[in-house]
Symmetry: C2
Subunit: 383 residues, 2 copies
């Protein structure tokens, strides 16, 4: 019963030989070697093409991984929520960009307090509405220096972002008029492009987006506006976008982990799949009453249910197929000749990695058969 | 920046008039009146039919709600995971039943330590395999009293549970032989029956299950086995099962909240929908760039994505339709004449309540327009 509230019931296995195979499950596993390699590879891609890298925290929500990304050369990190940004600034991570508009009085108050804590030019937020700009400026008045902002552009996704060049110019004027905000650039994140499976189609769509972004940047620059930062680009389009010279920064997130979907998306590129799977969910066989399947202790509370099914990585010989079996269980249909036994551990490549990580409180960091560390997922649930 | 790590950024609004409408979102809301009424109603149903009630913690994962259920007359609580059971025993909740087999050496060690902490007959676990029985008995040898166990029966769902009466009898013998375990009864939980929308079809299926359970119980009793407890029954079948005299206990969970699906399932019963929605997710409009929709700050990290879409409860006039818009955002398609404004708060009845609750660290307990308390979700993520 000696449970560390932060490290969980597997803490006693850190450093124990073979500890990876006797974990209490379901457990989120992170392969340290693959993670380190992925971080280095994306950093090298950015360096080779002379483009900045501000990786997205929404995928990993971890201070330790953010630190590794900074050490590998990232300019800072991108955050989807104010809670993520707070977790990063509290841990001393520099160069935080909040990639969604922050709306409502108390959140703006939190944002400005965070900017104060982070220091000059260490916190930037996107805006897409003059009313938000006006309210943000009211709060920013308490800062010693103006707050850095970036105009969010719809990027064809239309989730957030101004709808056209005229609206961007109007917003830029509104920003300038406040005197409390400094315009730094433009964001155009094509979230809908990242998962297009056909490479040619995805690259065409990314090229079209770049064309409209280049036109927008030209218009803003012609109006005398300082557009130093053009940010966007996810894991799915980084190959084409890194070298094209329109974006000055990339904000990919999932490349550190590689889930089932991104393996399909990135397979077959010039360098093959350029990243390795580092993220797994380990599960245990808890019931073996049927010849053709086993029941596992991982269901919709252990795997994101918004995309594809998890895929076995280790622990089963022969073909297998996972299906959700309620919230706490999974059904693994197997070749009956290779049915895993009661108590066997099965590891899966995760479906959609971001919402899967968001279900767990900690990473079990592994190196081969060894559990080498347990890292908290500080920003989990910080919405 | 004064954030309470346990109560979150809205703690300052407790007791402030109108505080419900200025919450930082996404926030999980719990209507205290509806919750209290639901708990009382199910307790009254159980009392009226002379059947025991051991409500399922997997839905709410909260010590406070478990305490309210016990105070209303519940025999104890049911738990899907060992982590949930630990959270309940640590808080002094009596009569804990673990409804899934506990497998693997370290978890069995944790289970037995928990039984020791809970005291005699305060912790019971289901079993479905003689190998699990043998390993459990080895660990239970350290207890002063034998550990109570219940035979898990497949119930037509075949997630866990012995496959037939012969297997149940074999398992009962194995339990008796150990000398370390006390057989208390049978579990037959028809998880697949709970969401059948057509009432007649659902009741037929529940009746069929009861018939096979009655036959199993007869066989076990005829063999001289003590079957005091026959547990099962979820929110979807409780109306028919409570009065039928086969089950001695019910283990419903979702009735405390009522999600979108259970509203369809229970609508049109003798007493109309017998339970009220008590659980909501509150979200904020963060972008209004399109005439026919708005973007909200709640996506797949705020709503379970395994079932139906969330449905607006408050904050929008006229028809509306929610669609996921990535992990942190939702797209709310609305009648353009009634488009909510930037910063407006919109509340939703949740899709599948159990995995939705599992995304949050706390309930914002509301009474009308007032935030009256914030309760931690102690067993969230405790798998």
């Amino acid at each position: 019963m000696s449970r560390s509230p932060t490290l969980g019931p597997n803490a006693y296995l850190i450093g124990v030989p073979g500890g990876r195979h006797t974990l209490d499950t379901p457990a989120l596993l992170l392969d340290r070697t693959a993670l380190t390699r992925n971080i280095a590879k994306m950093a090298a891609i950015a360096e080779r093409h002379g483009i900045g890298l501000r990786p997205h925290v929404k995928s990993h929500k971890s201070v330790r991984i953010a630190q590794m990304q900074i050490e590998a050369g990232a300019l800072g990190v991108s955050c989807a929520t104010l809670g993520e940004a707070e977790a990063m600034v509290e841990a001393g991570i520099p160069g935080v960009l909040v990639t969604s508009p922050v709306v409502s009085t108390n959140k703006l108050r939190r944002l400005v307090a965070l900017a104060d804590k982070a220091g000059p030019h260490q916190l930037t937020v996107v805006v897409d509405d003059p009313r938000n700009v006006a309210e943000l400026a009211l709060h920013a008045a308490r800062l010693a220096d103006p707050l850095d902002v970036i105009i969010d552009y719809h990027a064809g996704y239309h989730r957030t972002g101004v709808i056209d060049e005229a609206a961007a110019l109007t917003l830029a004027s509104a920003i300038a008029e406040t005197g409390m905000l400094t315009l730094r650039g433009v964001q155009a994140y094509g979230g809908h492009l990242q998962h297009i499976e056909a490479r040619a189609q995805r690259e065409d769509a990314a090229a079209q987006l770049r064309e409209s972004v280049a036109s927008l940047v030209d218009k803003l620059k012609s109006a005398g506006l300082p557009i130093d930062i053009v940010t966007g680009v996810g894991t799915g389009t980084h190959e084409a976008d890194a070298s094209a010279g329109v974006f000055t920064e990339m904000q990919p997130g999932s490349y550190v982990f590689m889930d089932v979907e991104y393996h399909h998306v990135l397979a077959g590129g010039e360098s093959g799949a350029p990243f390795d799977t580092s993220l797994f969910v380990q599960s245990t066989v808890v019931s073996t009453q049927a010849p053709e399947w086993v029941t596992l202790d991982a269901g919709t509370k252990s795997f994101a249910a918004d995309s594809v099914a998890p895929v076995v990585a280790r622990g089963v010989q022969g073909p297998s197929r996972y299906a959700f079996f309620g919230d706490e269980h999974g059904k693994l249909v197997v070749d009956s000749a290779h049915r895993p036994s009661l108590g066997a551990h099965v590891e899966f490549v995760t479906p959609h990695c971001d919402p899967t990580v968001n279900l767990y409180d900690r990473y079990h960091v592994v190196d081969g058969d060894t559990l080498v560390d347990i890292w908290p997922i500080e920003a989990r649930g910080r919405l």
